[in-house]
């Protein structure tokens, strides 16, 4: 069966090609080679039995002499796996003969190949295009896209984590690229690859690695470190416990996939084509807004003219080049109707009249109908300051949500298209609970709120604490990795 958005992929490093690819990498040892041979054994597939993992991703061709031996060596594993209902996808990379690799994949019964660069036409087998995130062909003719340069999520060890009582730590997340992916390639599945860091992660680290992409509707191509795989091969209990947590997290998202059809909600929209020079400011804005606790949605520029701006109070148009006439007209109409439109410095012939503003702001303000046009002052402004100014100008007065006591956490909010249901995803990048549980302010309390999390035996009904100035707060229990607040009106 062809891999689909329902597939749950796992990297299955095994075989002579894998050994050849890694033998010059620091840390490679005879034990590593032995492990890579051991995972060729069909018996090793027992590991994924009873788990949601249903697609194993193997090295297939790299243009090395070991390619043919690899394909031969994998045959028993593939045959046994297919009998057990598993799909296999082969990675074709480097200087591999792509046509030959595809033909071999078809012959071997692979469900798909994962291929760098543009997929060939009429391959005869599903090809999952795979690329670094800034260069991915989002409109490629494939229901699945592969991002090869995902980040191991967490608080990076080489950056000052605490700094004192008044600091928010930096976090590495794949949320930005995955939100962009949903905007640029709606309906497509995304596989994102990243390997464990050199220091073997904890079980919670692996759980976060699953949850970070899964909460945004994507899939991590599960990739275990050698030590863990070795211990799993040796059936050591701590390793099995870790693996069960990884599989449990993946299963959790399968059980809660109804929210995948929800749409990001917020008062702010970020519009960009996220292409070429617009990639960095666009991705960085989407990356940083969660650290400011600003719920937002991403709209692909190509779809913006037809998109609904209902519910928005502000739009940040990121791209250096001005929008197409139809979109510009729509954006200006949005501002004239009372919204705030943020545009870069190169916006030609700004509409409206100059309006007073705080001098430090990176935007010049212009009154425009009932709303405002904010024009960037600098050609290459600091992105954090830019989004902080946007938040400041838009104002906290109408915040839909606020999150407290969660310095190492990000959240994002999604709502059903029909209304009535919503979910707040909460990810803890420190992978350990804080001293206090997270606390949400919700502007419009709903009928019910419950917390679901793989860390809870059963969903926890949350109590609304009405606030004197309006809205209500929800106090959550402490969360190590992931939880979701399901709201229903």
């Amino acid at each position: 069966m062809a891999p689909s958005t329902e597939s749950i992929p796992m990297r299955w490093p095994a075989g002579p090609l894998e050994i050849a690819l890694r033998k010059n990498v620091k840390g490679f040892s005879p034990e590593t080679a032995e492990l890579l041979r051991a995972w060729l054994d069909p018996a090793s597939l027992a590991l994924v039995q009873g788990t949601p993992v249903n697609c194993l991703v193997v090295s297939w061709a790299s243009g090395l002499p070991e390619d043919a031996a690899q394909q031969q060596a994998l045959k028993p594993l593939i045959d046994k796996g297919r009998q057990a209902g598993l799909d296999f996808a082969g990675i074709v990379e480097g200087k591999a003969d792509r046509q030959a690799a595809i033909a071999a994949a078809q012959s071997a019964g692979l469900a798909a190949v994962v291929m760098d660069g543009d997929p060939p036409a009429n391959a005869g087998i599903p090809v999952i295009p795979r690329c670094e995130r800034a260069h991915l062909a989002w409109t490629a003719n494939s229901p699945l896209l592969g991002i090869s340069d995902g980040k191991w999520p967490g608080i990076p060890q080489d950056i000052n984590q605490a700094g004192g009582p008044t600091n928010l730590p930096w976090v590495d997340s794949n949320g930005a690229v995955l939100q962009i992916a949903r905007a640029l390639a709606p309906g497509k599945g995304v596989w994102i690859e990243f390997d464990p860091p050199p220091q073997a992660p904890s079980a919670e680290g692996y759980m976060l690695a699953v949850a970070d992409p899964a909460s945004y509707g994507a899939r991590w191509v599960i990739s275990l470190d050698d030590a863990l795989r070795g211990d799993l091969t040796a059936k050591k209990q701590p390793a099995l416990d870790t693996w069960n947590k990884v599989a449990g997290m993946a299963a959790f998202f399968e059980q809660h996939k109804q929210a995948r059809n929800y749409e990001a909600a917020g008062l702010l929209a970020v519009i960009s084509d996220f292409a070429g020079p617009n990639w960095f400011p666009g991705e960085e804005a989407v990356n940083l807004l969660p650290r400011l606790r600003e719920p937002f949605r991403v709209i692909a520029r190509s779809r913006a003219a037809a998109a609904s701006f209902d519910g928005l109070r502000a739009i940040y148009y990121v791209d250096q080049e001005p929008p197409e006439a139809q979109l510009r007209e729509k954006l200006i109409a949005f501002a004239k109707g009372g919204g705030t439109l943020f545009v870069p410095s190169k916006w030609p012939n700004p509409e409206g009249e100059p309006a007073p503003a705080e001098p430090y702001l990176l935007f010049s303000m212009r009154a425009l109908g009932k709303g405002r046009l904010a024009v960037g002052k600098e050609d290459h402004p600091n992105t954090y300051d830019t989004v902080a100014d946007i938040q400041n100008i838009v104002s906290h007065r109408n915040d839909l949500l606020r999150l407290y006591n969660a310095a190492s956490m990000n959240f994002f909010y999604e709502a059903s298209a029909q209304g009535g249901r919503g979910v707040i995803h909460l990810l803890n990048y420190s992978r350990r609970p804080a001293s206090d549980g997270p606390l949400f302010y919700v502007k419009e309390p709903q009928k019910s709120a419950r917390l679901v999390s793989p860390e809870l035996a059963s969903p926890a009904e949350l109590q609304w604490a009405p606030q004197e100035a309006g809205g209500a707060e929800l106090a959550l229990p402490r969360i190590s990795v992931y939880g979701a607040v399901e709201l229903e009106s």
Partner: protein, 397 residues
Amino acid sequence: MKRDLTRREMLVASGALLALPALPAWSAAPTGPTARVAVAKCKTYGPELLPALETMFDQMGGLDRLVKGKTVAVKINLIGVRWQRLGTARMEDTFWTNPRVIAGVVHLMGKAGARRIRVVEGPWSTPETLEEVMLSMNWQPQDILSAADNVEFENTNYLGRGKKYSRFMVPGGGLIYPGYDLNHSYEDCDVFVSLAKLKEHAATGVTLSMKNVYGATPITIYGEGAGVDEPSIRPHGGRGGTFHFARRMPSKSAPQQKDMSLPKDAGYRIPRIVAELCTARPVHLAIIDGVKTATGAETNYGSPNRPQAAVNPGVLIAGTNCVATDAVAMAVMGFDPMADRGTAPFANSDSMVRLGEDLGIGLRDLSRNEIAGAPISEVVFSYSAVRDRLLAAAKKS
């Protein structure tokens, strides 16, 4: 408005007269102005708040005498990352000056004839307006803005609405810095008010009306992201790198550290910086909100050895001298205002009230100040006892 009490009446009223030491013992004591400090019981921020504040101001001789026809700057305390609360307790009930106290003080100042009242603060690492910071905490800033005529806010982390920074030199030359460059609001005012919270501090033992002035320093000059030569346009980072640990110097446009060999220890530096700031930019009225607050530290910065709790001491303290007011506040917290380094609350720092006294701001000896209103013995709320209880409970669990 009540008439001014004489010093003797004040002492009798407070029961402090009996506690006065024999006069000759003062001969070798530090010199400085004696001051009036009023203490009020106030369990809630409800209807009892405004009368309590009004009574205190009356006991101090009347607010009109201080603010009538004057421009007043009220430095409030909005410390720390606002998204980090102490459990479910609200910031205004733990670490921040409560908005009802702010509104109450503003209202009474307006009533007393203040010409203009500017509420000022440099909230952590942001150029946002104070309205925005308040809105993000679900406050209603309009309640403060409408509490009197001509009320305005200014974020003093940066230049703000001014055209240049105002320089305040430390009389006598200073201990760490000879002077400070501050937002224009601190010069524009005729009357400077420190409206603080009754709190402990992780580095300096306590943070009261004196320490509150520390937050007046602009991050554009004294922050970790400050400009090297000139102030930055935008504030970035906290003040720790410059003030706590001297990892970097202020922008060169501002007065520089006098002696680079001085210790780089927060417990040495911050009390001195606070004391000299309070001499460079004198506090005319110190008010401390101890109705609801937190123990353990100035913000959510607890640790196993420094557990924190939201508490309800139910007390307000106000005085015209920040050293005397903080000394009274320390006594209310169960600490000895005469304590110095090595003794609680100054386990790891020098005493900023002693340093303030050394600089001639005021006197920390309670018996040498005039204390009105509720006797301290009736309002003592021991922070150490809370800590001991928390530690014992943690040990048990």
